[in-house]
């Protein structure tokens, strides 16, 4: 019972903190570019403003358009409950392993793309086409990275993966290095950050995610934006907790939990800062360079598998 309560609190925390991470990345980026920038809590204000606005829906919209925001937000929120944030061994992590987690993102993306095509504007179709193309290359790379980890730790359950790493003495697996590099590249592509997609642009030549949600307004838009922030949050937590699991707690005592929370916050904010640095240093890529970028991610993850098979299996 304690576990379930903790799982619910942890999920709520993840959902509540996601806008802050997005705001933090933006704030650091502005600072790096010598701009004042909105404060990190600006996304909360934006969401609050959107929730308090009227919703305009196109006359030709089908039920898919109106239910997609709810569905996408629910699926992403469910995905949050699977990710170990502070503690491991929570009952919710058994609902879905990491392959199912990838499936959740795919389900959300499926409806996002359909919602983009629903109104029949060119922008929606364009965004949907690009998103599905990028995803169809990113997903296998992501899964291959996951497989690399799974073969070392003999599990695809996130909790078992992390506890295996925590319990065994630290070892630098070459396969992990490759998988980590590959999965960072994939995470950037999947969360729609520079150099794949620019969340701050509405230029028709470059936008992907924004093109699909162009027709949304009010609370629908807020849910869509929030789901995108959640996705960034989930990927960040996943990366830091899989490749740097120290600080996660196994016993559920308040001081330990508090300490775990502190550690994970620092780790995620650090990752956000690195992301901001990368986004400042890099320019957005042409759409048709993206396959090469994702092929690199795929090759890195493949090298991870091969180095696991060649070097680490005895």
């Amino acid at each position: 019972m304690n576990g379930w309560l903790l799982a619910i609190v942890q999920t709520g925390l993840l959902i509540a903190a996601a806008p802050f991470l997005a705001g933090w990345v933006k704030w650091v980026k502005c600072r790096l570019q010598s701009r004042q920038g909105p404060p990190p809590w600006q996304p909360y204000r934006d969401l609050h403003r959107l929730f308090g606005k009227e919703v305009v829906v196109a006359a030709v919209a089908s039920p898919i358009f109106r239910s997609a925001p709810y569905l996408i937000f629910s699926v992403t929120a469910l995905a949050c409950s699977v990710v170990p944030l502070v503690a491991i061994g929570l009952p919710t992590t058994a609902i879905a392993d990491v392959i199912v987690l990838v499936g959740f993102f795919a389900l959300g993306r499926f409806f996002l793309a359909l919602a983009g095509m629903d109104i029949g504007t060119s922008f929606g179709g364009m965004g949907a086409s690009r998103e599905m193309t990028i995803a169809s290359l990113a997903e296998p790379a992501m899964l291959l990275g996951v497989f690399t980890l799974a073969m070392t730790v003999h599990s695809t359950n996130l909790a078992s993966m992390i506890s295996y790493l925590l319990e065994n003495p630290f070892q630098l697996y070459p396969s992990f290095v490759f998988a980590a590099m590959g999965m960072v590249l994939v995470a950037v592509a999947e969360t729609g950050r520079i150099p794949i997609d620019n969340p701050a642009t509405h230029l028709e030549l470059t936008m992907v995610h924004e093109a699909m949600i162009l027709e949304y307004s009010g609370r629908h838009l807020a849910l869509m934006e929030w789901a995108a922030m959640l996705k960034l949050m989930i990927y960040s937590v996943l990366l830091v907790n899989l490749f740097c699991p120290w600080g996660l707690v196994v016993d559920y005592t308040p001081p330990a939990l508090l300490q775990g929370l502190l550690v994970v916050t620092v780790k995620v904010l650090l990752l956000g800062t690195i992301l901001a640095f990368a986004e400042t240093a890099l320019a957005k890529m042409r759409l048709f360079r993206v396959p090469q970028y994702l092929a690199l991610a795929f090759i890195l993850c493949l090298l991870g598998i091969l180095s696991h098979v060649i070097l680490e299996v005895n």
């Binding site: 569905l71 469910l78 609902i95 993306r109 029949g120 504007t121 179709g125 290359l137």
Partner: protein, 670 residues
């Protein structure tokens, strides 16, 4: 008892095929006789097969008919029972869907009779294949199935396209039948009998076993549609009436998979791991090429046909993993691979027939088979759209629907490759898993295209704008299949527990861990390795949705939705031609995987005489261009060269006879 139901199913199908002959004049009487009997056949098949599967028992019967020295052996074990259930399910839905669908053929140039007669015989053929326990009965059932499918494909024979599609199908299925016959010949040579029980007991040396395995792989692969043996599929499926396409794609391909499983796992036994590697390789190639070719199609049924190639590939990946694990002495993992493959058979039968039934409704209501002319159908046919959406989600392997479960199980089987001592296998299997992941992601892209272009947006033609919802029967059939897709997605633990009865036939251990943690949790290897709580996923999504909805409810009251025009960038009203087309949607993928397809592209910029401009894209099939056409040319060329001996000169013919006689005398004297 289960066998009696199975026999009743065969009898009902025979009656459904033959009784309408008595009242050939009246279409109404034909429909009243054929379809209810077909439904009865389906229902009996489900009950008989289901009882055998659930109880895990085998039932044998020897009928004193057949060849003088060989009685007809029948066997209903969990494996054939499972496939019997698949045939029964789709037959049952066909019986509900058919009467309204064939209405359009009543006005057509053909009589209705051949369609119903051969549909009945088609089902009989499939049921016989499943029940057969000797090679002779098997081949009779197989040929009955193949030939009646040919006659169904060629039903609308006024179109030249359909005739050639049917001919290709007939040709390829007969080459396949020949190879299967040879495969049985090898087995019978060692067993000294055509009886399956004796064949299974016989021990084959590895060389002969491999020869028989390859014959079976190619022979059954021709029917199942493995790349590069798939070329008949995208031709035959669009030609056949839609409910027949659903039967062909949904279950006939599965009967071929059944034949392969029966032959390799049961009759041959003791598989060598290299067989598994071959199957895994061919399966991966079929899966990825199937989905890539499907992406480029604009004819809805042709697209679905290529997706059948993809799904058969996924099934064969599971079978290949199972053979590899079985050949290296890991029976529990072999059972996992087999169960994943069988689960995907079930899922593919459900969602592919659902999609073909949906395609049939679209075809009938809008008279369009080209995606580029559809659009906005969700507003005109909401029930069909909803069911089609379920099919799209299932085939794209998204949780919590059924397609996801079987792909997840296949992934879990692939991830256990680290138990293998062979390093090369250990590295190749994860690559196959990555191919499977790519396939799934591309399938999702393809079905976003299909659903988005077909059902969403604005109608792209007048006929699409005028389409309306279908009648009750087809709607009920689709809803039934859509519900089953959800049910088998949410209750995987129960399903896997039943499928274990089949795995126990070949691998005595089964998978005791898979279902050990109650109906909520599916844990294929152990709960530490991987778990999936499908009912909880559905519950979680529903709960999160409800909470979000309740939380936003006060705001919904304060700020109701305002309906307005779509944003047009201030340039005046949007029209249907401004939407992304199916061709445009897949353009990035076409560019990335360019060498995969033979593509011819023609552009014509807008000019004074042709203000619209023109763009034409033709996507062919390399298998056709590089394999079948050269073979065809070679055959024709050598036939022409051989024809020289037919000079028409009587003296030459006398000389042939004379020299033949001399040669034969020589042979006899030696």
């Amino acid at each position: 008892m289960p066998l009696n139901f199975a026999l009743l199913a065969v009898l009902a199908a025979i009656a459904s095929g033959l009784l309408p002959l008595a009242c050939a004049k009246s279409n109404r009487a034909i429909k009243l006789l054929a379809f209810p009997l077909l439904g009865l056949a389906g229902l009996c098949g489900i009950i008989g097969g289901g009882l055998a599967l659930l109880s895990g028992t085998s039932h044998r019967l020897i009928l004193p008919v057949g060849l003088p020295w060989l009685h007809t052996h029948l066997l209903l074990d969990p494996l054939s029972g499972f496939f019997m259930v698949l045939v029964g399910l789709v037959t049952l839905v066909t019986a509900v869907y058919g009467p309204a669908y064939v209405r359009e053929y009543e006005r057509g140039p053909q009589p209705l009779l051949p369609l119903t007669v051969f549909t009945g015989l088609f089902i009989v053929g499939m049921d016989l294949v499943l029940l057969a326990a000797d090679a002779f009965t098997f081949m009779i059932g197989w040929e009955l199935m193949s030939v009646s499918a040919y006659l169904l494909v060629t039903y609308q024979h006024q179109h030249e396209r359909n005739r050639s599609a049917a001919f290709i199908y007939l040709l390829m299925s007969h080459i396949g039948a020949l190879l299967i016959l040879l495969g049985y010949g090898v087995l019978a040579g060692f067993a000294d009998s055509f009886d399956f029980a004796r064949m299974a007991a016989a021990q084959l040396p590895l060389g002969w076993g491999s020869a028989a395995f390859l014959l079976a792989l190619v022979g059954f692969g021709l029917k199942a549609g493995l790349v590069p043996l798939h070329v008949w599929l995208p031709e035959a499926h669009p030609a056949a009436p839609s409910h027949v396409s659903a039967l062909m794609s949904g279950v006939m391909l599965k009967v071929a998979v059944y034949g392969f499983i029966r032959f390799t796992f049961d009759l041959l036994g003791n598989p060598h791991w290299s067989w598994g590697l071959i199957v895994l390789f061919i399966g991966s190639i079929s899966a990825i090429l199937g989905v890539l070719y499907a992406l480029m199609q604009h004819d809805l049924k042709r697209l679905l046909a290529y997706h059948s190639v993809e799904n058969i590939g996924i099934i064969y990946i599971g079978l290949g993993l199972s053979l590899i694990f079985a050949g290296t002495g890991h029976p529990a993992l072999a059972a996992l691979g087999l169960i994943a493959a069988l689960y995907h058979c079930l899922n593919h039968a459900l969602f592919k027939s659902l999609l073909f039934f949906g395609a049939g409704v679209i075809l009938q209501q809008s008279r369009e088979h080209d995606l580029e002319k559809m659009g906005g159908l969700i507003r005109r046919m909401p029930v069909t759209a909803g069911c089609f959406l379920v099919g799209c989600i299932s085939i794209s392997a998204l949780p919590p629907f059924n397609g996801f479960v079987s792909e997840w199980l296949t992934f879990q089987a692939a991830l256990q490759s680290s138990v293998l001592s062979n390093n090369i296998l250990g590295a190749l299997i994860p690559v196959a898993a990555a191919v499977l992941a790519l396939t799934g992601a591309l399938a999702a892209a393809c079905f976003v295209k299909v659903f988005g272009v077909c059902f969403l947006g604005l109608p792209r033609s007048e006929r699409a704008a005028a389409a309306c919802e279908t009648t009750l029967g087809p709607r009920l059939g689709q809803i039934f299949l859509a519900l089953l897709c959800l049910l088998f997605g949410v209750l995987p633990t129960w399903t896997v527990a039943q499928l274990e009865n089949i795995a126990r036939l070949f691998f005595s251990s089964g998978m005791p861990e898979a279902t050990a943690h109650g109906w909520l949790w599916l844990t294929p290897v152990s709960s530490e390795v991987a778990s999936y709580g499908a009912p909880l996923v559905l519950l979680g999504i529903a709960l999160a949705w409800l909470l979000t909805w309740l939380w936003l409810h006060p705001r919904r009251r304060r700020f109701p939705v305002r309906i307005g025009p779509a944003w047009d960038c201030g340039f005046g009203p949007l029209n249907a031609r401004m939407q992304y087309t199916a061709t445009a949607f897949t353009m990035p993928i076409r560019r990335i995987f360019r060498p995969v397809w033979p593509i011819t592209e023609e552009h014509q910029a807008p000019s004074a005489e042709n203000p619209g401009g023109r763009y034409r894209l033709r996507v062919g099939d390399w298998a056709w261009l590089k394999i079948y056409q050269p073979i065809g040319r070679l055959l024709l060329g050598s036939a022409r060269r051989l024809a020289m001996i037919q000079g028409g000169n009587i003296r030459a013919y006398l000389a042939y006879s004379f020299f033949t006689l001399l040669f034969l005398l020589l042979v006899v004297s030696l």
